[in-house]
């Protein structure tokens, strides 16, 4: 200890203090401040870049999700449309079918009605013709009867035979 105190040089101590103060001041001005500033700036820019990359990645993922959603929606819409279109088509077909059958029924019933009318008319005409013929025959018979008794008897029996046959 005594040796240490004896070796202690106040002059060297003073010089060291002076040099150290100057050195701290100079280095801080020339080196440390710019270096620390540059390091901080660089670290900041690296951090920013990383954050930006992260953000871009998130944005990308979000866009992709959006796209997926849009696609899904479009698909669903298409299906909906298709479904609706089929339904409409079916309905139209169904309607057409019922319409057609109705039409056909109507046509058939109309035809039936027409046939009935024609038939009745024809029957009426036949009846009239028969009556005319009967009258003509009756006229002829009457005229013959007046000329030949026997012959008129035969004729009447033939006529009666015919009528019976009819």
């Amino acid at each position: 200890m005594e040796q240490l105190i004896n070796d202690f040089s106040p002059g060297l101590f003073a010089m060291q203090t002076f040099i150290l103060i100057v050195l701290i001041f100079l280095l801080s001005k020339v080196a440390w401040k710019p270096i620390m500033g540059a390091l901080k700036a660089r670290e900041g820019s690296i951090k920013d870049a990383l954050e930006a990359a992260e953000n871009a990645k998130e944005e990308m993922a979000r866009l992709q999700a959006d796209n997926q959603k849009l696609l899904q929606e479009a698909r669903m819409e298409r299906e909906q449309l298709l479904k609706e279109a089929t339904a409409i088509a079916n309905r139209i077909k169904e309607e057409a079918k019922t319409d057609a059958s109705k039409q056909a029924e109507k046509i058939i019933s109309d035809a039936k009605k027409a046939i009935d009318v024609e038939k009745n008319a024809a029957l009426a005409e036949v009846t009239t013709k028969v009556a005319e013929l009967s009258l003509e025959i009756a006229e002829k018979v009457i005229r013959k009867n007046l000329s030949d008794d026997k012959a008129s008897k035969d004729l009447v029996s033939t006529f009666v035979k015919d009528i019976k046959l009819n």
Partner: protein
């Protein structure tokens, strides 16, 4: 790449050990005689550990001629005295400056009469007056060199950032170190948000101590961080910074410890006050002792080639000394970093303790 780095590293270590050995063996014969006995070697090492007014590379033992150069002497003694250390003639003659007489005695400058008389007390310490010696000694040269290296290295790194965000050249080595000090020493100990204010001091001290420690391993023979005045100055800087950054809580914990009985508060107060001073004191002593011990061990091991010459022969003792010194020098390289790290780490820790926000 790794092999190449290892190779360069090994060559560096080889250079360190061999040239230190060369420096010692070259100067192992002082003018006073041969440095052969353990006592003489001890004296030689002790002499090396002290600061010097000469930048001696080696001494020619036969002629007593010192190879090296004298450094300027600056004394404050009723005015400024400035002359070259060559005027002392290695303590053999009296140097006269502005009517005052000075003599170099065991590496220190004393004021004497014109005859150069040094009076000694019972402990063999001179009683002569000592002027304030602010000479550019070997230690100061070391400090200036370290400062210059720091300014050049980190100045270039700072300039480099102006043109590109990535460091080039020497900056590639320095930048991770700066980031290391910031992220591993300052931020965890002081806390985010507060550490930036102390970065200039911590960075300066870290690299300053490290470079000076490394300079001590070169054969130039610097021993700056192994000088108590230097470590005391560094520790006092930390002490002052800690006291000035101490918040209310810090002072409260020293003078009136919260959360303990009143009697304990009174007992704890002197202990805490003592603790304020023991912390920087330990800083000072740790760095000083480690570096001094390192120099002592390396030089003693190199000196084995002189002391063991009679037992093992010239080649045996030399190779043994070389192997051991080589090994210790590698460890000293680690210690050089470690001590710089510990000093900075503890400084940051003390600052952190003083600025800590307590929430009870």
């Amino acid at each position: 790449m790794l092999n190449r780095t290892t190779g360069i590293f090994l060559i560096f270590i080889l250079l360190l050990t061999t040239s230190s050995a060369f420096a010692l063996s070259g100067s192992s014969e002082e003018a006073a005689g041969q440095v052969d006995t353990p006592d003489e070697i001890n004296d030689y090492i002790r002499h090396h550990l002290q600061d010097s007014h000469y930048f001696t590379l080696w001494t020619n033992g036969k002629t007593g001629h010192h190879i090296g150069f004298p450094l300027p002497v600056i004394l404050i003694d009723e005015g400024l005295h400035f002359f070259m250390a060559s005027k002392f003639h290695h303590g053999e003659t009296v140097a006269e400056s502005k009517g005052k007489y000075y003599k170099l005695y065991h590496g220190k400058v004393y004021e004497t009469n014109s005859e150069g008389e040094i009076t000694l007390d019972d402990h063999n310490h001179p009683t002569n007056a000592k002027p304030l010696d602010i000479s550019i000694t070997k230690g100061v040269v070391g400090m200036l060199l370290a400062g210059l290296l720091l300014l050049l290295g980190f100045g270039s790194l700072a300039k480099n950032y102006k043109s590109s965000a990535l460091p080039k050249g020497i900056g590639r080595v320095l930048e991770p170190l700066v980031i290391y000090v910031r992220d591993e020493i300052a931020r965890p100990n002081i806390g985010a948000g507060k550490y930036e204010k102390y970065m200039p001091y911590l960075l300066t001290v870290f690299f300053y101590i490290w470079i000076l420690n490394l300079l001590g391993l070169t054969p130039l023979g610097f021993n700056v961080t192994g000088n108590i005045a230097i470590t005391a100055c560094l520790a006092i800087f930390t002490f002052i910074i800690v006291q000035f950054s101490g918040n209310k809580e810090y002072w409260k914990h020293i003078f009136w410890m919260p959360g303990v009985p009143v009697l304990m508060k009174i007992v704890l107060m002197p202990i805490e006050i003592l603790g304020m001073f023991t912390k920087p004191f330990a800083l000072m002593l740790r760095l000083f002792a480690n570096m001094t011990a390192g120099h002592f061990v390396v030089m003693s091991l190199i000196a084995l080639m002189v002391t063991m010459k009679s037992q093992f022969g010239a080649i045996g003792s030399s190779s043994m000394a070389f192997a051991l010194a080589f090994f210790i020098t590698i460890i000293e390289l680690l210690v050089a970093f470690l001590q710089a790290y510990i000093f900075t780490m503890l400084s940051a820790l003390f600052i952190g303790m003083a600025t800590e926000e307590h929430d009870h």
